[in-house]
């Protein structure tokens, strides 16, 4: 699904590289977490895969596409939700579908081949996602008037309404309180299983990485040259949070990040 070859990235011509000759592969259907201390380049890596930053050297391929710009089949969810403050929950969820209708199936902004949904179809899809994510009652309210959890649900609905095959998430639940966070983590696990999504989630929380990632990429102080990968096959199974395996995995990650004493 994602193939990164020989990636080099730096923020300026003379800046220290964040990635140097870095290669990494994600197979279709895999669930990855990326973890590391702040400044390690985990968000940068996600933005590169999303096509919102350009590589300095090397290639990133997602599906069949070499990434130079956002790829229409990739979904992205950010920590601060990225909702339009002047649009209602309904209009925010409909935004992606409207963008697709705006361009038509040009292969650049919207997937080639499949015609964008008609207005009526789009309405049905928006309603379905609002109900699925339990925010249908909030549909006429503005983002400023709903809770953080509801905002993140709106952002998730907006992204999933476009039926992505790859879901990228950058610290999606960091600004939420613990019960809401756990609730949404479970929701992501469910949706991922249902939709057969490939997913990559960036987080600084060790527990979150272990709950959501069946494979975990640990990044360190830049420059990152080779991926350090931890297998975590238990992730996603019911009740994993309270198993000894889970706690062991968290300890292992802590040690790798140089935090255990």
């Amino acid at each position: 699904m994602i193939t990164i070859e020989n990636l080099t990235f730096r923020y300026g011509p003379r800046a220290k590289p964040v990635f140097l000759g870095f290669s990494w592969h994600v197979a279709p259907g895999e669930a990855w977490s990326i973890i590391g201390p702040s400044g390690c380049g985990k968000t940068t890596l996600l933005m590169l895969i999303a096509g919102l930053r350009r590589v300095s050297r090397g290639t990133i391929r997602v599906g069949e596409t070499v990434i130079t710009r956002p790829r229409p089949e990739t979904g992205l969810i950010l920590q601060d939700f990225g909702l339009l403050p002047w649009a209602t929950v309904w209009d925010n969820v409909a935004l992606g579908l409207r963008v697709r209708r705006f361009y038509g199936p040009d292969g650049k902004h919207a997937p080639r081949g499949q015609p964008p949904p008609s207005r009526k179809e789009a309405r049905r899809m928006v309603e379905e996602w609002l109900r699925r994510l339990n925010i249908y009652e909030q549909r006429d309210r503005f983002p400023g008037a709903i809770s953080g959890g509801q905002r993140q649900r709106t952002a998730i609905a907006r992204t999933l309404a476009l039926q992505p095959d790859l879901l990228l998430m950058d610290e999606p639940f960091s600004s939420l309180d613990a019960p809401t966070r756990e609730d949404l983590q479970n929701l992501i696990l469910q949706l991922r299983a249902e939709m057969n999504l490939t997913s990559v989630i960036v987080t600084h929380a060790i527990e979150e990485a272990a709950i959501l990632g069946r494979k975990i990429l640990v990044l360190g102080e830049p420059p990152n040259t080779a991926p350090l990968i931890v297998d975590n096959p238990g992730a996603g199974s019911p009740g994993y949070r309270s198993t000894v395996d889970f706690l062991d995995k968290c300890t292992e990650l802590r040690t790798l990040m140089g935090l255990a004493h």
């Binding site: 950010l78 339009l84 002047w86 409207r98 963008v99 705006f102 361009y103 008037a145 952002a155």
Partner: protein, 284 residues
């Protein structure tokens, strides 16, 4: 959000009420109550205004300050003829200038707000030129652009231009990069960003700028219309009536100009309220 409880009308539901959903009934009732309250406020304001005017006229007892009941009939009859044409001419100039300033200042403001380098180059210049009272350029503009319609529209547009430019620039600069990134990740390129992000983001800013500056624009129009034109409220008030000592007619002109300002202000204010509904979303 509008789920008001039925405080009054506590008796049994009438047939009409039972058929409409209670929510719709209370929505209509709220709207009526709100417009009723506004009407009451307006009546009150007009009464106080008329009372002050009358008191002033009684205190001065001079030709230059007639009573409201002497002016009002003149206003009504003049509005059926000449005065109406002058008002239309003035309104046309303001609207043309508004359209011109908005169409140019909005994209420039968006560009400055989104491209940091441009902003760094041009902001000091804007900071320097913005506070200059543009009316001082009236003689220059009259000479360069001629004595016709263009010079007047240009002068007003110049005032509105800087107001809109500054507000739109600041609004565009305050759009968080995360917002732009996440909309781009939905597939939006430059055109879709403009249509779905920049345009709706700058619309309330444009209206705010217009609401703040429409008064200044009309004041400048008043001055500009005293030069080289035979049309417009400024010409009517100064040349046609004041200089000929026709004070009742002059006040009819002043009323018309006030009305023009009031109508424009209320129109912009109403638009701003509709477009900016979301700004108050957190308060309910």
């Amino acid at each position: 959000m509008h789920r008001t409880t039925h405080v009054d009308g506590s008796g049994p539901l009438t047939a009409a009420e039972a058929e409409v959903s209670p929510n719709a009934v209370s929505l209509v009732r709220d709207a009526l109550r709100a417009s009723g309250a506004r009407l009451l406020n307006l009546t009150l304001a007009l009464s106080i205004f008329a009372a002050c005017w009358t008191a002033l006229a009684a205190a001065l007892r001079r030709d230059i300050m007639p009573y409201p009941w002497e002016v009002l009939p003149v206003f009504v009859s003049e509005m059926q003829g000449d005065l109406w044409n002058h008002m239309v001419a003035s309104a046309g100039r303001v609207l043309k200038a508004t359209a011109l300033a908005t169409l140019i200042a909005t994209p420039v403001g968006l560009g400055l707000g989104q491209i940091r380098l441009l902003n760094r180059i041009f902001s000091p210049l804007i900071g320097l030129v913005h506070p200059i009272p543009k009316i001082v350029f009236l003689p220059v503009i009259l000479v360069i652009m001629g004595i016709g319609e263009t010079s007047k529209v240009f002068l007003i547009a110049l005032i509105l231009f800087f107001q809109i430019l500054v507000v739109v620039r600041d609004e565009a600069a305050s759009l968080r990069p995360e917002l732009i990134q996440s909309v781009r990740s939905l597939g939006a390129g430059r055109r879709a960003l403009f249509r779905f992000v920049y345009l709706p983001a700058s619309l309330p800013a444009v209206l705010t700028a217009l609401r703040v500056s429409v008064g200044t624009a009309i004041a400048v129009l008043f001055i500009a219309e005293q030069y080289s034109t035979r049309q417009g409220l400024g010409y009517y008030i100064v040349t046609l009536t004041w200089q000929r000592l026709r004070f009742e007619k002059m006040y009819a002109g002043i009323l018309a100009m006030s009305l023009l300002g009031l109508i424009l202000y209320l129109a912009v204010d109403a638009l701003e309220r509709i477009v900016g509904r979301w700004r108050h979303a957190g308060e309910s």
